[in-house]
């Protein structure tokens, strides 16, 4: 399923809404999650999962082609942990 298919499903279920409003709604939800993580916040959606930011320490890396060492700075990466309900559903338990 891709974004446009998700929008279509929501639009089909809500015939009283304009398609462009459904697009804005769906986009707002995903943008809000990204914005929150860009601020270092967590987004916890019970039953679905939680988005959080993890810190990766600075390290000395290597260019795999040349073998030269390179300093890699500390950075923050997005992380998602599946919620219990969804994990159970994936395994046919709920």
């Amino acid at each position: 399923m891709i974004r446009s298919e998700l929008i279509q499903k929501i639009a089909d279920e809500n015939p009283h809404l304009y398609q462009r409003d459904v697009e804005r709604i769906v986009n707002t939800i995903f943008d809000e999650v990204t914005d929150a993580m860009a601020r270092g916040y967590r987004v916890e959606l019970r039953g679905f999962g939680a988005f959080s930011v993890k810190k990766r320490d600075a390290r000395v890396g290597r260019n795999p082609r040349t073998g030269a060492t390179v300093d890699v700075e500390e950075k923050h990466v997005p992380f998602f942990k599946t919620g219990k309900l969804l994990r159970d559903r994936l395994n046919g338990k709920a």
Binding site: M1, I2, R3, L6, K9, I10, E13, N14, L17, D21, R24, I25, V26, T28, I29, F30, E32, V33, T34, A36, M37, A38, R39, G40, Y41, R42, V43, E44, L45, R46, G47, F48, G49, V53, K55, E74, K75, H76, V77, P78, F80, T82, L86, R87, R89, L90, N91
Partner: protein
């Protein structure tokens, strides 16, 4: 880094502000988005949201695990797990937003 957690309520509040539907309907829409995504994943489909990321379901085969406390061997059944791969845009935004 501020230790703040957003929930469904914050997402529906954002929808409410952006589109001007009632708070109740905004909350329902957030719920249906999550439901449709969960349903697709439960069917084994990949959910690909451009410029956000991709959720995919992977099959893990059975293996023998160990209770780290007792050292006892325990069988781990085959199971399906969900992985999320953030888009480049999200990675870039999270990296630059949290730069110290």
């Amino acid at each position: 880094m501020a230790d703040k957690t957003l929930t469904r309520m914050d997402l529906s509040e954002a929808v409410f502000r952006e589109v001007g539907l009632s708070r109740n309907e905004s909350a329902q829409l957030v719920e249906s988005v999550l439901d449709h995504m969960s349903d697709a994943l439960t069917r084994g489909e990949q959910v690909k949201i451009s410029s956000f990321g991709t959720f995919s379901v992977r099959d893990k085969s059975a293996r023998v695990g160990r209770n780290p406390k007792t050292g006892e061997e325990v069988p781990i059944n085959p199971r399906r797990v969900l992985t999320f791969r953030p888009s480049h845009l999200m990675k870039d935004r999270v990296a630059s937003g949290n730069k110290s």
